[in-house]
Symmetry: C2
Subunit: 406 residues, 2 copies
């Protein structure tokens, strides 16, 4: 039935599909389903007591600032703390390089808003983060994909894609969502060099980089890029826009993330952000600052890593134990996800209903492929369910897959 609203929506709204995946995922909300579908941190690692103390301190000593409107850029001491933290990784940034956003999704939206014209090509890894496509489709983005393997983005195929003429490159170099794989140093260097040669900016999305529980830290794209570009008073002025977040290290329920970019890009983002939400909740920013500063965050991240490390091991062991031959999976050194590939010809969307009937859920991999493919893949989250549930869930999932393979 045509309603009186139907003809009023903007053209861009017609590009906005209520994603099939969203409908599927509603099925996973039954309490007895073991869900590997979400990207949720373990609630067991949230620092409740530290938040409680911080709220008390903030409301007693910073109340009038915390409950008032704030600047669009974000709370200065928090931006300065992020700048200090970032400089430890070998990149010169000041608070002029930093804007706070209400989660990284908000930063993705603002980047789409200021950069994407209808029909612009965005270069992404295939598969890539679903939420970035959700943010950018509405602005009319189209996608050029470069495949990824167990070492992430296949940089040998990058140059051909760059020649297609793209607006920017979007990558998640650490423990990628959805595959869990990490781009090694050589490929990062190659990526930075090619982007520079073709004059194409890079958006580096790094929500999980701090959650490494195996192997050594690899320098960020933004750090490598800085070596190629001259300094300007300790202020980063390069070719990369870097995103990170407190959602995976403190808690997603406070919706706090940040963008690092050249000051001229930050200024555009600030004007765009002002029109969309005036400012990010000051209360949340001061509370996060109170919780995070003084060394707590680093210790807390170690704790999170030990919990996720165990859960990843349990999931890898369970996959090894239960999965039939022909099923493959990635071995992430950190983060929240791993990626499972079933034999060719299987379809994880078709399998989904049966899986949920057997009380286990995942995200079908096709949804992460902007240009098709991945029908036989799935994303599994190992951060949320307890070790016991992980083992039981993988056993159920293996049963469903085995039944289909017959």
């Amino acid at each position: 039935m045509q309603t009186l609203w139907d003809n009023r929506y903007a053209q861009r709204t017609r590009r906005m599909k209520s994603s099939a995946i969203r409908e599927l995922l509603k099925l996973t909300e039954q309490p007895d389903v073991i869900s590997f579908a979400g990207g949720l941190p373990a609630p067991e690692v949230f620092p409740y007591e530290e938040f409680r103390e911080a709220c008390n301190v903030v409301l007693k000593t910073h109340g009038p600032v915390a409950l008032q409107y704030g600047t669009t850029e974000g709370y200065l001491p928090l931006r300065q703390m992020i700048a200090r933290h970032t400089r430890r990784f070998g990149i010169e940034v000041t608070e002029e390089n930093i804007m706070i956003t209400s989660g990284s999704q908000k930063a993705l939206d603002l980047l789409g808003k200021i950069f994407i014209n209808e029909g612009d090509q965005v270069l992404v890894e295939s598969p890539t983060y679903l939420g970035a496509m959700q943010a950018w489709n509405i602005y009319g983005a189209e996608y050029v994909t470069v495949p990824s393997d167990e070492n992430g983005l296949v940089t040998d195929e990058l140059e051909a894609a760059l020649r297609a003429g793209v607006k920017f490159i979007y990558v998640l170099p650490n423990f990628q969502n959805p595959t869990g794989v990490t781009i090694p140093l050589e490929r990062r260097l190659r990526l930075v060099e090619l982007a520079d040669r073709y004059g194409v900016p890079i958006i580096e999305d790094d929500p999980y980089g701090q959650l490494r529980f195996e192997g050594s830290h690899i320098p960020s794209i933004v750090v490598l890029d800085e070596k190629l570009h001259p300094q300007n008073d300790g202020c980063y002025t390069g070719n990369v826009i870097y995103l990170s977040t407190f959602s995976k290290t403190l808690a997603p329920g406070i919706r706090l993330a940040w963008v690092i970019a050249p000051p001229e890009v930050i200024r555009k983002l600030v004007v765009a952000k002002q029109g969309t939400d005036l400012n990010t909740a000051v209360f949340n920013q001061i509370v996060a600052y109170e919780v995070a500063h003084g060394g707590f965050l680093n210790k807390h991240i170690e704790h999170i890593c030990s919990v996720y490390h165990e859960r990843r091991d349990v999931m890898l062991d369970a996959l090894e134990e239960h999965m039939p031959a022909g099923v493959k999976w990635t071995h992430p050194n950190g983060g929240l996800f791993l990626w499972t590939t079933l034999p060719d010809g299987m379809n994880t969307v078709e399998l989904f209903k049966e899986a949920v009937e057997q009380k286990v859920a995942y995200v079908p991999g096709a949804s992460f492929h902007p240009c098709g493919g991945g029908e036989n893949t799935m994303r599994l989250n190992f951060s949320y369910a307890s070790p016991e549930m992980i083992n039981e869930g993988i056993s159920r999932l293996a049963r469903v897959i085995r039944r289909r393979m017959k």
Copy 2:
């Protein structure tokens, strides 16, 4: 100097001006300036102790939900509380009619996103809220204005504007930002009737409606509209999208507002919102619910009204005492602002620098006029400064004006 970013921005970013007003307002941040420029609530009325208690309760008893990701629609008990509260004003709404946003500015952005095609005409009062234009300019909105007088929108001039073909009507019927005036019942009825006849939706922005300190409550546009439209199981399905917020009744620092709209519009807004911020901070939503429910909010609003009532009276008295003949101002019955008109030929942008030198600030009225005009007007905020500062500030401002009038 052309930088490597300049050619990369989207077309829409070129419409995004760093507003002159924003630059001016930076001048008002000196601590010894008495500023009537911002739209800030009085920090003296923030319920610090109630927030502190609520944070403690929420983190002790709802921690795992409060710190986790949540639904895009918003925290269900909060939406149900808002529905109950709204039904008291005589409109049938359910939680299906309600979406929580990170401040009303976020709702304005999402409405622009789903409704405005480049070149679409939006019908606004002149003057109107600056932030709505900031949200919508980037989507390519253009404006048809209808003048307002001491009774707000002049509905006699509405029909001609509606014949121009507009996407929607945007009004702030209560204690309007910037003028402080309120649209009386007869004009509201006329507005609803004309909008219905021309099939044009209304966006009713009502951040201040609860802050009435004189006169009687006037039914909202959405309530009047409902009488024209058939009911559907207690769910609102009419022609109006209604916005309100906790920013002026609890605190802006938690960034919480809501949209009331027909469920089909809410569903579009939810998909759009998901791409921009996934969800509004669950922690803030549960804390606000804890603070507001059980009758506290109503009592607290009475307290806020008594404080703002006094400040408005002090400002009106000070204007009466200090302003030279030929200066006029509105007499708002609530809200945060009043509107001052200087004699023809004076220019409040030109006056601004001198005012700041004399340590007093306001917002020049021209910024609220999408199609020009208002050069001799200014917006004065009476909620933020203390009564003593209001009197002193108006005396300084009168001196500056008098000097120019000579």
